[in-house]
Amino acid sequence: MTATADRPRATGTPPTAPPTKRAPSDTTGKTERQIRRIAFSQTLSRWDFKYSPYLYISPFFILFAIVGLFPLLYTAWVSVHEWNLIGGQGDFVGGDNFAFVLQQPQFWIALRNTFSIFLISAVPQVATALLIAAVLDRNLRGKTFWRMGVLLPYIVAPVAVALIFSNMFGDQYGLINNLLGQLGIDPIGWHSEVLPSHLAIATMVNFRWTGYTALILLAAMQAIPRDYYEASMLDGAGVVRQFFSITIPQLRPTLIFVIVTSTIGGLQIFDEPRLYDSAGQGGASGQWMTITIYLYNLGWGQLNFGRAAAVAWLLFLIIVLVGLLNLAITRRIASGDNPQKVLDRASRRAARSAARTARTARTRRDQEVDA
């Protein structure tokens, strides 16, 4: 826009001058008034250009401030007080609640469990989803059928999933231990041992979320220009090579999104471990007690909201930290196959839009550079 070019003149005009100079109406006055009018509408359009996008996006942030930021800050306030559900706010205790929680062995057990369950669910989940998406991206008969099929487990309510799976993972009469018994394998203590209980819970999580993740990745895969694949085929690249050298690097932003969201979800896991046995407390020795279950027990079990709020904030900080760490690692991994230096964002965007318009010949040249 030309707004910046007009700037000196517009600002140079004294705002009160024009009305008083109406009477003489000489040529200079006329031109001055015209300039002023142009200048003001241009100021408006400049404001429009600069500020209205913020106005358009503001409903989200206003809503977020009310339903997201306020609870977050209020939780922080609660966490530095003694706080009972009915008695409400008690004395200010500073960091005591945090200190108490950090000294509890239960908290560290919960942290261990949360990370363990998160890792053995998220890593295989994203990997499997990536493979499923890659297969769905090929030419299949009945595409929609397969695509909806992978989403089917996601429709099942988590409570139902947990009920069915915890039945299957029963220690004495569970389906899985029965099958293992027929193969001559000793029954596994799905509810008494730590790692088996994590595996069982991770299975529930993966059952529900893999299809969902696969569909997101599939949507991103479909946006990759087909030219890349055609070009690489001409160069003799196989399916595997295409997957690693084109699909994964192109999926990078989506992968980051998927990994970050599954990190958040994984660290907040609650339904599955809570419904894994009838007591819902994460096992007699806390075998599968996650941080959110610990939080719930402090808040609703012991009605001690100050400590529960402290756990909520610790969890928040942990998620932020892991999220950042994740982001750093994903950026590496997703571009790791590319021997080239990572292009900065602007030039990547330019390259992508160029690729979209350009013809095969051009793309081929890009691929040669890539290779």
């Binding site: 009915i86 008695g87 062995p105 239960q106 009469y173 008494s192 009838s278 007591a279 007699a284």
Partner: protein, 426 residues
């Protein structure tokens, strides 16, 4: 947390219907509408199935013109608890009559000043003593009317008893088990020796029956926690775990395995409050050999039961108190027993034919009414349950599970963890 777990069993069944009721009930608001002509709406909030049928409530409406009753049913007692405490703290939003389960009754009693005083000399003798005593606060105000109780008997598998060469007739079984817990475990040893099977379902369930006979188990009256030093608790803990080594079926109560074991004949006996009869029948419908004996080791015992309270924040406290008194009167309680099997806590009901002649076809036509009346009269001790009773009991149940079910700890190491957990409650 013991009693509330039956709520998951029965609650699941009532879930769908209850949800619909809750939704429609909520829409009509907190029961503070007073019509122009003096008509009032009373809201009653219960959970699971209290046996308050539409017909029963309609009967009250007919007898009291101008009163409309709205009944909201929560699916589980835990849902009711969350709702109760949130709104009690907020000072508004509770129903005119709120049902409270013994599980969280002690927690509620801390805030008894937020509830209406329901004392009424006319009905003061209505309930069994210990039920009324528990609902009377330090200032002598009666803040809750008792609904049902859970007198405990012993349920047993007649076929497994026969296999072990033990008597199968319920009167003979009662005579055989008459005595204290030592006797119960002694017979258990005989049974295990003869059959190699398990005598009882789990250490946790058996412990629950034993600890409910101790008046001051975890706390002293002024609130001092004695759970970890009380030799009585430690002795019961050790006794049950030593017996469970050979006699337990190692099934965590309310787990899927536990229900399967009930049908598969994994254990010969289980402690049986009145409401447990329905649980057994529901989970082992094919088994014809379950029976119930009029006996309980170490005297009587109570497991579970609920109350009705009238929150002082309501707009129609007086009318609500009237309705609560009516609902907990012996006649209405007998109707509730008939429809939902909730065993009355009203002494007058115990001489009623409707209760005394009640039999149960599933338990080989056992005279359950008579047996449970006897069992309720045998209850001698009402355990003192204060604020920390349930978290402590919960921690102890977990320590039993670690040894009995998980097998991950020894009796001693699990006790140490229990001590640490009780300290962390501070």
């Amino acid at each position: 947390m013991t009693f509330s777990r039956r709520t998951t069993a029965t609650g699941a069944l009532a879930g769908a219907a209850a949800l619909a009721l809750v939704i429609t009930g909520c829409a009509s608001g907190g029961g503070e509408q007073t019509g122009a002509d003096g008509d009032i709406t009373l809201t009653v909030a219960t959970f699971n199935d209290f046996g308050y049928t539409d017909e029963l409530l309609a009967q009250y409406e007919a007898e009291n013109p101008g009163v409309t009753i709205v009944h909201n049913r929560a699916a589980t007692s835990n849902d009711a608890r969350d709702n109760f405490f949130t709104k009690l703290g907020a000072g508004s939003g509770l129903a005119d009559i709120e049902a409270v389960e013994v599980d969280w009754f002690a927690e509620m009693m801390q805030y008894s000043d937020l509830l209406a005083d329901l004392s009424d000399p006319e009905i003061a003798d209505r309930w069994v003593d210990w039920k009324t005593e528990a609902a009377t606060d330090a200032d002598g105000r009666l803040v809750a009317y008792g609904t049902d109780i859970g007198p405990e008997a012993v349920c047993y598998r007649a076929d497994l008893f026969a296999e072990a060469g033990l008597p199968t007739d319920r009167a003979e079984v009662a005579a055989l088990l008459e005595g204290d817990w030592d006797r119960y475990f002694e017979v258990g040893d005989q049974f295990v020796e003869a059959t190699g099977g398990a005598w009882f379902d789990s250490a946790g369930a058996t412990y629950q029956g034993m600890i409910n006979q101790v008046e001051f188990a975890y706390e002293e009256e002024e609130g001092t926690v004695i759970a970890t030093e009380n030799p009585e608790v430690k002795a019961i803990y050790e006794q049950v775990l030593e017996a469970s080594e050979t006699q337990s079926a190692h099934l965590a109560q309310w787990s899927d395995d536990f229900f399967a074991g009930m049908a598969n004949g994994d254990f010969a006996t289980m402690l049986c409050p009145g409401w447990m009869l329905g649980v057994i029948e529901g989970n082992a419908p094919e088994v014809t050999d379950w029976d119930i004996a009029d006996v309980f080791p170490g005297g009587g015992g109570n497991w579970g039961g609920s109350y009705l309270t009238v929150p002082a924040q309501g707009a129609n406290v007086e009318e609500a108190t009237k309705l609560a008194a009516w609902l907990t009167a012996p006649e209405q309680q007998l109707q509730a027993f008939d429809s939902a099997g909730t065993f009355p806590s009203q002494t007058a009901a115990y001489s009623e034919d409707a209760l005394l002649t009640a039999t149960n076809e599933y338990f080989n036509d056992a005279p359950v009414g008579e047996i449970l009346v006897n069992r309720s009269e045998a209850i001698g001790v009402a355990p003192f349950k204060s604020v920390k009773y349930f978290p402590i009991n919960d921690a102890l149940q977990k320590s039993l599970t670690r040894v009995d079910v998980d097998g991950t700890h020894t009796i001693e190491s699990s006790w140490e963890q229990f001590v640490a957990e009780v300290e962390a409650l501070g």
